[in-house]
Symmetry: C2
């Protein structure tokens, strides 16, 4: 019997679900190309002007849209009034814990970054509770600043460099094994209430939210429950998301990236990739997709920390590159150390980065041949090394991706770089509102 029945899990269609879906359709249409007149919106979504006006009125009433100046219609005649997203209404708070920094930022509904804090903090050797107490203080300050701007925080997401999960006691005895989650494209953080699956909205809300850090080696966190360490007070416990995933989504949501099926590489000590498919995060069957760092580059190469041989990390991870560059000592920011030497013309560093770029090119050949992304984006801290890494990566891809066309411009450095995860964390809330505005009042 057929087992692949995507429709079967969607729940029945209903009047309420229909209006909910059409509210999202109108809001996302305006979000995509504001300012727009009501008539233009009606034309684009394929509903009557009367139906659209009723939906628009509801969105205006909820403070999600504003109606202002004339829309540039190009037509002669009575000027219409133009709809835009309300940049002074609901907002998303993004937080971040890194090995050497804390971050908090606020993004408004129109996508503008309104509050931005990224402060140094040596988190690696401190207890999680202490780190999170400091982060909560920063979050409180960002919230107060946002409120002073007239914004209203509607959701908080925390970016963490680690493997996350729903935590123990959430019904899944395999949670340790499949520490993020077990399904495919549906678990995009902004997609939990996505409209295509929206009739099950209530059931879905929060269902998959991560509350548990399975393992974050660069923080020294292992089995950390966020709820247990988040300080009591007015700020709700944030939702967790992996920082590499948020970096990839930020590329699409605020980095100006137009390709929505892409491989987003982020690297430092470890090398990870996030796969976006049709604009949504693809996590794999058990939450492990994107392990670019352990793609075999030279099958008989040196032993990796994972136990296998010749993994990409053994050639392109920051530790391997520092070693090859003959840079000794410990570095709070190894990528910055590499950038300094490369910029100064340090030959071993340049050679080490070239070799790392070649290894990236071999591993990415596998990724391009298997996944066929429209873009490969070098993000995170490594974006700062793109001047030295990209040429070698491009050379390898050019000689190795031969069975299919390969556009050299499809390989590029992220414009967001290290800012990506924090921006992405704030944008999750905005995307959820745009995808399902009724979540704010239901």
């Amino acid at each position: 019997m057929p087992t692949a029945l995507p429709s079967g899990s969607r729940g029945p269609a209903s009047q309420q679900g229909m209006r909910r879906q059409n509210l999202a359709l109108v809001l996302s249409t305006v979000a995509g190309s504001a300012p727009l007149s009501r008539a233009t919106v009606a034309g684009r979504v394929g509903l009557t002007r009367a139906a659209v006006s009723s939906l628009v009125d509801e969105l205006l009433g909820a403070g999600l849209l504003v109606e202002g100046e004339t829309a540039p219609s190009g037509k002669v005649g009575r000027p219409g009034r133009a709809l835009s997203l309300n940049a002074d209404g609901p907002a998303g708070l993004g937080l971040e814990v890194g090995p050497a920094h804390l971050g908090a930022c606020v993004v408004d509904l129109a996508g503008g970054t309104r509050v931005w804090h990224r402060v140094p903090a040596l988190n690696r050797s401190r207890p999680a509770g202490q780190v999170l107490t400091e982060l909560a203080e920063l979050a409180g300050r960002a919230t107060a600043e946002a409120e002073a701007l007239g914004l209203r925080i509607e959701g908080t997401v925390l970016a963490v460099p680690g493997v996350l999960g729903p935590g123990p006691g959430h019904g899944d005895p395999g949670a340790e094994q499949a520490a993020t989650d077990r399904h495919g494209t549906e678990r995009d953080p902004a997609d939990r209430n996505a409209v295509g699956r929206a009739t099950a909205g209530q059931r879905a809300r929060g269902r998959e939210a991560h509350e548990w850090v399975e393992h974050a080696p660069n923080l020294g966190w292992h089995h950390v429950s966020l709820a247990d360490h988040w300080p009591a007070g007015p700020l709700p416990v944030p939702e967790l998301e992996n920082e590499a995933n948020l970096g990839a989504l930020a590329e699409l949501w605020s980095g100006g990236e137009s390709a929505d099926t892409l491989v987003h590489v982020s690297a430092e000590t470890g090398i990870g990739a996030a796969l976006l498919i049709d604009g949504r995060l693809f996590r794999g069957a058990a939450g492990y997709a994107g392990e670019l760092g352990h793609v075999p580059v030279h099958a008989d190469g040196p032993r990796c920390t994972c136990g296998a041989r010749g993994c990409l990390e053994q050639y392109a991870g920051a530790r391997a590159v520092l070693r090859a560059a003959e840079i000794r000592g410990t570095h709070r920011d190894p990528v910055a150390a590499l950038v300094d030497r490369a910029r100064a013309g340090h030959a071993p560093t340049r050679a080490a980065l070239r070799r790392a770029g070649e290894a990236f090119g071999i591993a990415l050949t596998a990724a391009v041949n298997l996944v066929d992304p429209a873009a490969v984006v070098l993000g995170g801290a490594y974006a700062e090394l793109s001047e030295w890494l990209l040429p070698a990566m491009a050379d390898e891809l050019a000689v190795r991706v031969r069975v299919r066309p390969w556009d050299p411009d499809a390989l590029r450095a992220s414009r967001l770089g290290r800012r990506g995860p924090l921006l992405g964390a704030a944008h999750v809330t905005i995307q959820r509102i745009v995808n399902d505005p009724a979540r704010l009042w239901d």
Copy 2:
């Protein structure tokens, strides 16, 4: 501004779309676990019994459901009547052209194979018109046999070992470059009218249908328009689909495969893979996903026909394995030749297959680390070599996939083997009906 707005492309929700979606929900629920009573269906889909009864009556009237004996409810009381799919109603016709065979089969709505023909035919050196005329005769015979069984053919799909496209003059100047199609998971052949996107059903229908063989090297076909070569007569021109894709879908639809995110390998002269994500075909951004045969296995290895070095095909393609096995001459069925020698204990063949399995293991390590499939299935003709290939593949995966858990049972041979593509071709029509029954009368 946000660019990832999956909801924006879906069109508005409507009364008509709502009923359409609920018809699909009821039909797919019955398809998933027939026989079921009306009350059980209502419970599962979350609609009232009255609403479900009205939907059921429409599906009974259209000949998609039948209502028969008592459903096994386990409860005491008045026995209910049980709903099942009508195995004597609509059906799908699958066709196949291979280098050395033609095929036609008919699958009914309940998933049963009712007609099966797979006949030898040396197609490689013959004009496409001649091959298709013979295929049309076979299709006519299969249709007559199906009709004699009371079945009604509702769609015909032709499996071809090649790169397909909408053909020239379909508006896309890049069609030669991106010969299949340009989007992600949406283009599953059974998903074109899928319910989640169903309000755009009319627009979507047939929009993406392939009509053009860009290149099928093993048939000697290049730029073949199916419509130009299909004989005039009562049989409509079939829709084309790549045979490896259909083989993968068949695994899910009739092969008993339970994992719906999987890598399905099919190999002979070339090595390809099809990626299923949540039960749907993932084609990549430009239609090139799954090029497993050109994943680098040894970055400095021998030159491949594609121009790159050390591709999997240079170690595991049938030609490479025959060479390594010291088997000379031309073979109408190279895989059968390898099976014969391996079974006879021919040491060079066994060694060549072991080496091929190791190379598969290295390339699949990349696939598992990047895509995180729940299963890796060795399908197509190579399923017949699984006795000799799988152990080496399993060994490599065990020592190389280390950064994440790897279940050795996730690697398996297809039970359908060479039958997959033809079965898949017939099942496409069945899946479309289950996913959107209203397509039959709209």
